[in-house]
């Protein structure tokens, strides 16, 4: 007889693959055989998660075709069961799964669009965090001569891609077929986006230039305001970095400030 723990492990196998003979014997078979009864759970698992992926990746689904997407989602679901009880948090590895598919070798931007859609799904559901006031930043920054780090709100995402995925996604959702997307793909413009949530909770996609994006990347990596400013100015002399900082605070994208200890500052300069 199966133990309590074995029953739970056998149920896992029945859902992801097929029930063992021993597990079939552990389930009452009467007017309806055990295998058919277990199919209810297997089918619900696959269907609900496939539907969940379709909701998170609508543009990707349109781009690769509904039937292909659903088939890939089915493979993915069977190979990558959720690690979180929340269905809206399912699909983290799906873009990488798509990027490894040979059939999509000719359209590598498809998995990049999926990566953008996952980033948008994550930020919509990211935890709230109280934001820091611009005046507090100015005071602290002056006092510490810019030797401070910023901590972004959990809903802030820096997204970059070698493909113009922002436009591809928008055009695909608007109903463009492959012909509408082809010129964008041919343009080969990369994507640099600051993704965040507006006060109503809607996702915002802000296209960035290289200088501003470099500054944001350094800030995200824990570098100081000074270092981020210098990086932007090195790329574009006269870059309006203070406008970028003001935007970050006005949009409520900064959730924390922390001084860089004096003993670390010299090291930071050398780095």
């Amino acid at each position: 007889m199966l133990t309590f723990l074995e029953i739970q492990r056998e149920m896992r196998e029945a859902i992801l693959a097929a029930p063992s003979r021993e597990f079939l014997d552990a389930v009452v078979s009467d007017r309806i055989p055990a295998r058919r009864r277990l199919n209810v759970y297997r089918n619900h698992f696959r269907d609900s998660l496939t539907q969940g992926l379709a909701e998170v990746f609508p543009a990707t689904r349109k781009l690769v075709g509904d039937r292909y997407f659903d088939a890939m989602a089915g493979f993915y679901v069977a190979a990558h069961p959720p690690r979180d009880a929340r269905i809206c948090r399912y699909g983290h590895d799906f873009p990488r799964f798509l990027s490894a598919r040979e059939e999509l070798e000719d359209s590598p931007y498809a998995s990049e669009v999926a990566r953008l859609e996952w980033a948008l799904a994550e930020l919509r559901d990211a935890p709230d965090a109280p934001d820091i006031d611009w005046n507090e930043f100015e005071r602290t920054s002056q006092r510490l001569a810019g030797a401070i780090r910023l901590r972004f709100a959990p809903s802030v995402v820096l997204f970059d891609s070698d493909w113009p995925v922002h436009e591809i996604r928008a055009r695909t959702l608007a109903g463009s077929g492959a012909d509408g997307v082809a010129p964008l793909v041919a343009s080969g413009n990369p994507t640099l986006l600051l993704l965040h949530r507006d006060p109503d909770g809607d996702a915002c996609e802000l296209a960035m230039d290289e200088a501003g994006f470099a500054a944001l990347r350094l800030l995200r990596a824990g570098r100081s305001v000074n270092q981020a400013s210098r990086a932007a100015l090195a790329r574009i002399p006269g870059y309006p970095i203070s406008d970028l900082f003001q935007f970050l605070f006005q949009a409520g994208l900064v959730a924390g400030l922390s001084p860089i200890p004096a003993s670390h500052r010299d090291i930071a300069k050398e780095i």
Binding site: R9, M11, A26, S48, C88, R197
Partner: protein, 296 residues
């Protein structure tokens, strides 16, 4: 902020789902309370903000589907923390979960998987319910899920197990009458007898929902899809149970093929009318047996 929430007596609640977001604000239906799936509101952003607004106008009940209280493992600490945070923010009138498992190791199966009804399972779920109640600092309700199979090793009936769980942990029961009917039709048993063997005093909430019938190799299997009106046999069970527990909060769920809000509210009204009719036919209730109330 201190809110006093009282479920209006005899006023059934509805499951709040995202497609009804706009209609809730426009129509402001006079329903007793709203119930939400905890997992849909554990993040931040618009969904959580909307809920914090709704709680000013309707009592909120938090219904979890992902704690996996029947798992051999203890409840997932991260998930429990998110639930505790939501409960702290909302101060809901009710918090509930299921007599089922959905997690094996670190993997989640997005379903209410059936448990073997054994003394060992009872000990496991008692341990897990204790952990959750201690963490949340409150009593929770445990719902009987719909089942599509039973195990040969089961030695206890579902009501026996729930009665014992209540006795040992002090939790309550969320009696889902559609699930009772679906389970009894699928695995055998009489739904009325099932209800009669449950300690009715432990029932802190009643759920109603629709189900569908599918063909399983020439035999009929009932699927608890929450995608239609409440079926007549389930209403008959409701009439039977509500005599015993007339003031229990009643909720109508509708999760697939979701209709316009008025259709869902109409289903809740139907529950109100049936309850009123049953109450009219029974002796007056003693004072103090009243509706659920709390002050936060």
């Amino acid at each position: 902020m201190h809110l006093k929430h009282i479920i209006p007596p005899l006023s059934s609640g509805i499951g709040y789902r995202a497609p009804h977001r706009e209609a809730m604000h426009e129509l402001r239906p006079a329903v007793g309370f709203l119930e939400v799936h905890a997992e849909n509101f554990m993040g931040g952003g618009r969904r959580r903000a909307d809920l914090l607004v709704l709680r000013h106008d309707w009592p909120i009940s938090v219904h979890g589907v992902g704690l996996s209280l029947g798992s051999a493992e203890r409840p997932d600490e991260d998930h429990l923390s998110r639930l505790a945070s939501l409960v702290a923010d909302l101060d809901p009138i009710l918090v509930s979960e299921h007599l089922s498992f959905s997690r094996v190791g670190n993997e989640h199966f997005n379903d209410l998987l059936p448990l073997p009804m054994t003394p060992l399972m009872l000990r496991v779920i008692c341990r897990n319910v204790d952990i959750v109640q201690q963490r949340l600092g409150r009593r929770i309700l445990i719902e009987n899920p719909s089942r599509y199979l039973s195990y040969t090793c089961s030695t206890l009936s579902e009501p026996e197990l729930l009665n014992e769980l209540v006795q040992r942990t002090g939790c309550g029961v969320l009696l889902d009458l559609n699930n009772v009917y679906v389970t009894c039709e699928n695995v055998g048993g009489d739904a009325f007898a099932w209800c009669d063997s449950l300690n009715m005093k432990s029932v802190g909430e009643i759920h109603l929902a629709g189900h569908t019938r599918v063909d399983a190799g020439g035999e009929t299997l009932l699927i608890d899809d929450h995608g239609s009106t409440v079926a007549e046999p389930v209403w008959q069970l409701f009439d039977h149970v509500i005599r015993e527990r007339p003031m229990a909060p009643v909720l109508v769920e509708w999760d697939s093929r979701i209709p316009e809000l008025p259709a869902l509210v109409a289903e809740a009204r139907k529950a109100d009318k049936r309850r009123a009719r049953m109450l009219a036919d029974r002796p007056p209730i003693a004072a103090g047996g009243g509706h659920l109330a709390y002050v936060s």
